[in-house]
């Protein structure tokens, strides 16, 4: 049995601890400031009157806060449309891929079938392939299917993810076989077992995966950039890059656009961060 720690350490140790503690807090706060500064300036500049963000010395806070740029974005520059596109695509992909990936992940974890392990190994090998290698032929394939410049052209490639299947399988492995077999004995169909036993059992990883997918799809840039040529279909990141080409002079306007792009994902993250963070940390320990 280890001896209990003394309740009052020696005075010099206490002082040293206090100094260290202060230093650590100072570092933490400094780090927090550095992490937040660009976002804070983005918000501040978005509220500045035109031209104020390009002054020397730079201003940290707007002299006369205005929401003119936000108004501009939603009226003249139809940002609402892009917001809708991003939301539509992200939500559809999140829910649809959840179904697809969880079914496959469960199958690899718990269903016994011929060739299972070989197939899974083959699939995992695909993780090594960078997605950019697929983009050119994928574009030509979608062209032949008539899906260029459509929502489907962005949605379909995102519906199944090897990584997502991996995550679900990892988690689903921990479901006791006995529980599943018992249900089979009772005559339950596989679909029923999946819905009533498995899904509730892997809810945490499903939460994590859905947040992950939502964030990744919302933030996705390269593929939507390639596939969408018609601005009415643009997602926010593509529209933002588009605007920045045309309005490089309008700093404040661009900052407002960035704020609008970032807010939804920030909100999703802040409200659901527990699941997300747990997922990242759990995934790493097992993996």
């Amino acid at each position: 049995m280890t001896p209990a720690r003394p309740h009052d350490p020696l005075p010099s140790m206490a002082r040293r601890e206090r100094v260290t503690r202060i230093a650590l807090y100072a570092l933490l706060v400094l780090g927090a400031l550095m992490a937040l500064l660009p976002m804070l300036w983005m918000l501040s500049a978005s509220l500045m009157p035109t031209g104020e963000a390009s002054t020397f010395p730079p201003h940290f806070l707007p002299s006369k806060p205005t929401i003119a740029h936000y108004r501009d974005l939603f009226t003249r520059l139809s940002l609402g449309r892009y917001l809708f596109n991003s939301a539509l695509i992200s939500i559809v992909v999140t829910f649809a891929s959840l179904a697809v990936n969880s079914m496959a992940g469960y199958a690899f974890a718990k269903l016994r079938f011929r060739g299972r392990d070989k197939l899974f190994r083959f699939l995992s090998a695909g993780l090594v392939l960078p997605v950019q290698v697929s983009m050119l032929p994928l574009f030509l394939l979608l062209k032949n299917m008539g899906l260029i410049n459509t929502y489907w052209g962005v949605i379909i490639p995102g519906l199944a993810s090897i990584f997502g299947i991996f995550l679900v399988r990892q988690y689903a492995l921990s479901i006791p076989d006995e529980m599943l077999d018992a249900a089979r004995v009772d005559g339950a169909s596989e679909a029923r077992i999946f819905w009533s036993i498995v899904v509730p059992g892997i809810l945490p990883i499903l939460a994590t995966l859905s947040i992950w997918t939502f964030l990744a799809t919302w933030n996705d840039f390269m593929w939507p950039l390639i596939v969408l040529s018609d601005e009415s279909h643009y997602t926010l990141p593509v529209a933002l890059a588009n605007l920045s080409g045309e309005h490089v002079q309008d700093t404040e306007l661009m900052m407002a656009g960035s704020v609008i792009t970032v807010i939804p994902v920030m909100l999703v993250f802040l409200f659901l961060q527990r699941y997300y963070i747990q997922g990242v940390m759990a995934g790493s320990v097992k993996g």
Binding site: G51, I148, N149, I226, S229, D230, L243, G245, E246, Q249
Partner: protein, 390 residues
């Protein structure tokens, strides 16, 4: 693209009233992405009915067989007399003798300058030869500090480099567009002149992305001259303060020994083969080509009408800044009409930049450019040879 995309919708009510039942949808793209977006649209079989094409892109879309030939429509049209268009401009839309685009607006590059600063430095009017121009810049520089420059040429743009080459008499590509001609003596003459401007501190080595606000710099006197196009007339008028409005002016470009040529730029309206509404689209094209509508468009954008008749309108005839453009348009020359031009143009300023920054000598930079260009033109040579039956 650009401002045109923003305002063209204002021209539409007139058309829609004259043609009830036709609804027009406009889509805007910034210039920087327009080329690739239009190509993507073509590849994805999602092209619009009509597109505004930079006229240097017409050969490319023709190679793709994307555009509808327009000669028969033009011949039958009561609205579009070919002779009313600037010859050099119409020529840019013709590939192998067939017309694929109607010039919508034209542009060319001239010099915008601070007349007060130039007068102050001993140049009462814009010089017309390279030597005198250079001298003027040197005199300007002597009155400026280290952060100020007589001439602004963004080094990520290819037009200034190509213009100087054209002025020096270079055909840009040689052997009917089979090989690059950038390291040939004529082009080198222009390019050497270009690089010397930076070397001698007469132009700043800024990339385009850093000019956060050109108008501010012009207003503050940090820049005295800028080579640009007609859209700047509107921008300068709107963005510069009132007290500066009588202190700037436009002038035609100086050439080697006298007034020089400039680019026959501009945009055309082209009809896509894939359009399902060709008749209606053509009607829109005719409408937009009417002289009065051209003048209206000019009022909204500052873009120059492609039809000589439109230029007779007092709005243009009496505009002091327009005079330089009207003059320059008579000395406007097209760039090589090859489908690969867009890619070649990008390489031009990339290699140019190396010489400007002193990484390579002008000769080295242009030889490297020619090597790249020759590779780019490889397929064209192959196809041309095959067609010739070699």
């Amino acid at each position: 693209m650009g401002r045109e995309g923003e305002v063209v919708s204002q021209l539409l009510p007139g058309f829609e009233k004259a043609h009830p039942g036709i609804k027009v949808q406009v889509q805007q793209i910034p210039w920087s992405a327009a080329h690739e977006k239009l190509l993507t649209a073509y590849v994805g079989e999602a092209t619009p009915d009509i597109a505004m094409l930079g006229n240097t892109w017409v050969p490319e879309f023709v190679a793709l067989d994307a555009l509808e030939p327009l000669d028969s429509r033009v011949a039958q049209s009561k609205e579009l007399p070919k002779s009313d268009y600037f010859q050099g401009i119409w020529d840019t839309n013709t590939v192998d003798g067939v017309t694929y685009g109607i010039p919508w607006y034209v542009d060319t590059r001239v010099i915008f300058y601070r007349s007060d600063l130039l007068a102050n430095a001993g140049c009462p009017q814009m010089p017309s030869t390279w030597a005198a121009w250079r001298q003027c810049m040197v005199q300007l520089k002597s009155k400026m500090n280290d952060h100020q420059y007589p001439l602004l040429i963004p080094i990520t743009e290819w037009p200034p480099i190509v213009i100087l080459g054209l002025q020096a008499g270079s055909p840009i590509l040689r052997d009917d567009g089979r090989f690059g001609g950038f390291s040939q003596p004529q082009f080198m003459k222009g390019f050497d002149f270009y690089v010397s401007l930076f070397r001698d501190g007469l132009a700043p080595p800024f990339a385009g992305t850093e000019i956060s606000n050109l108008y501010q710099e012009f207003e503050r006197g940090n820049i005295a001259m800028y080579i640009s196009g007609p859209w700047q007339i509107g921008e300068f008028t709107n963005r510069l303060p009132k007290n500066l409005q009588d202190k700037w002016m436009t002038a035609t470009l100086p050439g080697v020994d006298g007034p020089g040529v400039s680019l026959a730029g501009g945009a055309s309206l082209s009809l896509f083969r894939g359009s399902k509404h060709k008749t209606e689209a053509w009607q829109l094209m005719e409408y937009l080509s009417r002289p009065d509508v051209q003048v209206e468009f000019h009022k909204l954008t500052g873009d120059l009408p492609a039809r000589r008749t439109a230029w007779n309108d007092p709005l243009l005839a009496n505009n002091k800044y327009m005079k330089a453009f009207r003059d320059q348009l008579e000395r406007a020359v097209p760039t090589p009409k090859v489908p690969e031009w867009e890619q070649i143009a990008t390489k031009v300023f990339e290699h140019g930049e190396r010489a400007v920054r002193g990484r390579q000598t002008p000769q080295q930079a242009m030889q490297a450019l020619d090597r790249d260009v020759d590779v780019i033109l490889d397929k064209r040579r192959f196809l041309m040879d095959r067609k010739a039956g070699k």
